[in-house]
Amino acid sequence: MTAVVSISNLLRRYWAVALIVVGWQIWVSAAGLSSIVLPGPLAVATDFAGDPLSYAGPAGLTFLVAIAGLLLGFLLGAGLAILSWSSRILNGLLTPLGLIFTSIPVVTLIPIIARLLGYDVRTVVAIVSLICFFPAFVYVGAGLRALPPGSDDLFRVFGGSQLQRFVRLVLPSAVPNLMLAFRLTAPEAVLAAVVAEFLMGTDGLGYLFRKAAGEFDTERALATSLIATITSVACFGLALAAERRVLRRWT
C-alpha cells in the first residue's frame, strides 16, 4: 500500500522529467542515431555503470574545489560586509560596487582570472570564491541591517554595549540571509568550477568532459554531464538542508 502511494507520489513529482527521458530514448531508437551523434539515456547509463569509479575521482575533486571556493568566497564576502557595516564611509564606498558586480555576468570574468593567476586548480578555487563573494557580500550586508522589530531600542534601553549589540543582535540577525545566499550560490559554485575546469583544462569533471567531447566519446561526455548535474543537485540539497535546519533553530 505504502509502496503504491510512494510510487504515485514519485510520478506526481517527476512525470515531466520521466517524459523527457523516455521521449529521448524513443527518439534515438526510432531515428537510429549513431551513438557518436547522440546516445540514448540507456547507453549513457550503461557506460556509467560499466566504470563508475572512473568518475568518482574527478567528481570528488570538483565537489571539493566548489566547496572550498564557496567557503572562501563566503568568508571574504561576509567579512567585507561586516567591515562595511561598521563604517558608514566604507559602506557608502562599497555598496554601489557590490550592486554593479551583482548586475554583471561575473562568469565572464573566468577567462580574465585564468590569465591572471595561471591554469591551476588554485585558480579554480579563486574563480569559485569570486563568483560566491558578491552574493555573500550583498545578502549578509542586508541581513546585518534587518534587525527584529524593536530590538534595537531594547538593546539601548537595557544599556547593551556596541560589542554586545553586534554579537548578540546584529550577527544573529544576518544568519537567515547568510543561509539564503548559501543555498542560492551552492549550485552556481559547482557550475563555476566545472566551467573553469573546462576552459583551463585542469583536472576535475570539466576536464573529463572536455576530453570525452574531444574524443567524440559522446556517451562518456553525457555521463560526465549527468555526474556534474548530480554534484550540483547534491550541493544544492546540502545547502537547502543546512538552511532549513538553521532556520528552524533561528526563527
Binding site: W15, I20, P111, R115, L116
Partner: protein, 250 residues
C-alpha cells in the same frame, strides 16, 4: 534626508572612481603582472577604429542571442507558471522539471543542444533556459501572493477562475515579475556567453575565449568590459521599471 541621500551618492561615486583608479594603477605599474592592462589601454583598444567592426559583429551576435533568449525565456517561464497556477495537478511535476533543468550545468547542456539544434542556436537556448527559470520561480510565487481576504472577496462576488487570475492573481504577481525582469539580466548574458564558449561561430564569448588562449590581453578585457557594461545598462533600465511597478502596486 536629502543631504544623507546626496552624501551616499557622492560616496558611491568616490567608491566607483577608486575602483577605476585602482584598475588603472595596478595595470600601469604591473602590480598584478602583464595580464592586467590599465583601464586606459583597454579603453584605447576599444575605441580603435580598426577594431570597431570586430567588436560590432561580435556584440551584435551576442546581443541578439541575449535578446532572443531573454524574450523566449520570459514568455516560456510565464506561460509555464500560469499553467501550473491554473492546473494544480501539473504543478509538482513542472516544479521538478524546471528545477532539474536548472540544475544541469550549462556546460553539460551545451553539447546536447549543439546536437539537437545547432552551434549558433545554443547561446540563445541556454540563455532562455536560465531566464525562464527565474521567471517561472518568481511568477509562481508571485501568483500566490494575493491575500486570503481578497480571494474570499472574489469568491463571494462569484468570480470565475479566469477572472480571479486576470484581475487578482496577475496584478499581485506584477512586482515579483518585475524583480524577475531585473534579476534575469545577468543570467541572460551568462547563458549567451557560456553557450558561445562551446563552439559558436561568432560572438563576444568566442572573442573572450580565443583572446584568453592567445594571450590577447587588451582584447580579452575589452570584450569582457563590453559584456559587463551592456548587462549593467540593461539591469539599470529594468531596476527603474521594477521601482515604477512597485510604486504603482503599493
Amino acid at each position: 534626508m536629502t543631504s544623507a541621500r546626496s552624501q551616499s551618492f557622492v560616496l558611491g561615486l568616490i567608491g566607483v572612481s577608486l575602483f577605476l583608479i585602482a584598475w588603472e594603477v595596478i595595470g600601469t605599474y604591473r602590480l598584478a603582472g602583464l595580464t592586467w592592462p590599465p583601464l586606459s589601454t583597454v579603453l584605447a583598444f576599444l575605441t580603435t577604429p580598426a577594431k570597431l567592426p570586430l567588436f560590432g559583429r561580435a556584440a551584435a551576435a551576442s546581443f541578439t542571442s541575449v535578446a532572443i533568449g531573454y524574450l523566449c525565456g520570459a514568455c516560456g517561464g510565464l506561460i509555464l507558471a500560469l499553467a501550473s497556477h491554473l492546473i494544480a495537478p501539473v504543478r509538482p511535476g513542472l516544479d521538478r522539471l524546471v528545477a532539474v533543468i536548472h540544475a544541469i550545468p550549462s556546460i553539460a547542456l551545451a553539447p546536447l543542444l549543439i546536437v539537437l539544434a545547432s552551434a549558433d542556436a545554443t547561446p540563445p537556448i541556454i540563455s532562455g533556459l536560465g531566464v525562464g527559470y527565474i521567471f517561472y520561480v518568481a511568477a509562481t510565487s508571485g501568483l500566490a501572493t494575493a491575500s486570503a481576504t481578497h480571494r474570499d472577496l472574489f469568491a463571494v462576488l462569484g468570480a470565475s477562475r479566469f477572472s480571479v487570475t486576470l484581475r487578482l492573481d496577475l496584478p499581485s504577481a506584477l512586482p515579483a515579475i518585475a524583480s524577475a525582469m531585473k534579476l534575469s539580466v545577468p543570467i541572460a548574458f551568462i547563458g549567451a556567453i557560456i553557450g558561445e564558449w562551446f563552439g559558436a561561430s561568432r560572438g563576444l564569448g568566442l572573442l573572450i575565449v580565443s583572446a584568453m588562449q592567445n594571450f590577447q590581453i587588451p582584447l580579452l578585457w575589452s570584450a569582457v568590459l563590453i559584456t559587463a557594461v551592456a548587462s549593467l545598462a540593461m539591469f539599470a533600465l529594468f531596476s527603474l521599471t521594477e521601482r515604477l511597478v512597485q510604486e504603482r502596486m503599493r
